[in-house]
Amino acid sequence: MFAAENGLRGDPRLKGISEAIRVVPNFPKPGIMFQDITAVVSNHKVFKDIVDIFVDRYRDRASLWSGSKRIYICSAIALAIGAKFIPLRKPGKLPGEVISELYELEYGNDCLEMHLGAVQRGRRALVIDDIVATGGTLSAAIRLLERAGAEVVECACVIGLRGRVISVAKRKFILELLN
């Protein structure tokens, strides 16, 4: 679901978030319109608004664990809601034993890894990412957490791309819908 359709329609914070997102054409490859989230975190007020919106939504959900691939915003949200933070990373970054999940990107293939034993069976988890396009990365994140026995409650993203078929089956909460 999109934030504007879920009680946040007209919320001035969403306008600020939208205006802060920078679009860079032809990056990383020709034809790709890159949604640059760094402009968002370099604006303190907008960054705080994003965290506040997610914290308002998830604060009362006890025992939430959060996993994230892109981690500018995730650790701040985990900290604010008192959740454990589990980084989901590209291969070779996490030391020790990991579980891996291959997935397709909008433009290629990739692999996501999570520490073995990071999640306890039966725990509830939240997945956070800055942008959802096809949902491939989110699907891989969900599979990793479910393979470890967690229950994924929701996927929270700052940006969703309009017109894309989002394959993620789980509930989604997206702040901003962009073309």
């Binding site: 920078r22 370099s42 303190h44 650790s75 933070f85 020790g96």
Partner: protein, 184 residues
Amino acid sequence: MFQDITTLLLDPKVFKDTIDLFVERYKSKNISVVAGVEARGFIFGPPIALAIGAKFVPLRKPKKLPGKVFRQEYDLEYGSDCLEMHVGAVAPGERALVVDDLIATGGTLCAAMDLLERAGAEVLECACVIEIPALKGRERLNGKPTVDSAYESRKFMVKRLLIEYISSIFLLYLSMMRRSLVLC
């Protein structure tokens, strides 16, 4: 021996304590930029930035940041690497803090400081959770004195009294010099 901070992140209270210690130290230093080094600097940097009212600027490996970037090469323990920062992310005269999880040889932190200074910022300090003293990283940070502390346990519990004591001693050094604050 890889120092893995992910276990710290699995304990919300310890993670919060770590961030709170940095925030207490930096909140009244008029810092407007917190620059985090990819990738584990992205875990500690953003919460610190949010809490002290600063913007967060990621310093990334090559070709990750779109648009125009500053680029700084540096030597690693085992080879060389490169760090990039967006042109325009930082304005001349801004006061900056560099955040990373760990200081080893100091090469990455030096590159981070160079990037910020090329953009005209004043780097107040480098803040790290872990130090590997044997690699003498602090000595590369212009040889200035550094602040250190002890841990009570492997869960990175910091002795607050020791931090406060050391902070008061080195207060004189803080104004115009480079130094690093290392929590363990």
